[in-house]
Amino acid sequence: MNMPGSTTALLQGTLDVLILKVLALEPMHGLGISRRIAQVTRGTFQVKPGSLFPALHRMEEAGWLISSWGESEANRRAKFYRLTKVGRRQLRDETEQWARISSAMASALETP
């Protein structure tokens, strides 16, 4: 598994695409998003509220997400975020871009 030191550094732009990705499945509240990101990246990315909330609000203002208040698991009121149509398109674009970047990086780093 990963070293504790390697859990914090998030590449610029990574957080947005991860949030879009986990919200593509179902609407979630802040903590749910953070936990799901940790889960799908096998603990590599622990998103702190200090970066999560600004990102969520920025993405909502950009029209990628919309939020509404709802009931969480334990009857707590929570703000749930879900993707808009624009958000889905953004996810598709960014996924393609990441595929290009990661294959380019992989081939560059494998070259002896």
Binding site: L31, P54, E61, A62, R76, R77
Partner: protein, 143 residues
């Protein structure tokens, strides 16, 4: 991002600031409560859960500040705050404010005066008809 969506967001952020702020506060509070529930499910007693949740959240005010910074219209808001603070500073120090105003007034008055003289003496043509044009041929000229 559509212009309509931007305008709506900007209007909400500036005109209904109190609602936006209350909602942000409620959102962060709910995050903390769900975090506490999670800690208690894993066996922490309520006070420990509360402490751990607060620790993991980090300062709520700092988070709010960062959200405010990215908001649409956040720059306008910040400029407004700067202006208000400057005016308070001026009000606290009326002598200096008066002196500054008088200095600025004198400076502007003096420049205007000098330019008025310069314009009247050198730039404006003298008040004769067709001043600056060659004299018509029927006019007597000195040979």
């Amino acid at each position: 991002m559509s212009v309509w969506h931007r305008l709506k967001t900007l209007w909400r952020n500036l005109a209904r600031k109190r609602v936006v702020e209350e909602e942000l506060d409620a959102e962060i509070r709910s995050y903390r409560e769900i975090l506490e529930d999670e800690k208690m499910r894993t066996g922490a007693d309520p006070s420990a859960a509360r402490r751990e949740a607060l620790l993991e959240l980090g300062g709520a005010e700092r988070i709010k500040e960062e959200v405010r910074d990215i908001r649409l219209g956040g720059t306008l808001e910040a400029i407004g705050a700067e202006l208000r603070q400057s005016f308070r500073g001026l009000r606290r120090n009326p002598g200096l404010t008066f002196l500054g105003t008088v200095m600025l007034g004198l400076g502007m008055g003096a420049s205007t005066l000098v330019f008025s003289i310069f314009q009247a003496a050198l730039l404006k043509p003298l008040p004769f008809r067709a001043f600056g044009e060659p004299a018509p041929s029927h006019c007597a000229t000195f040979q």
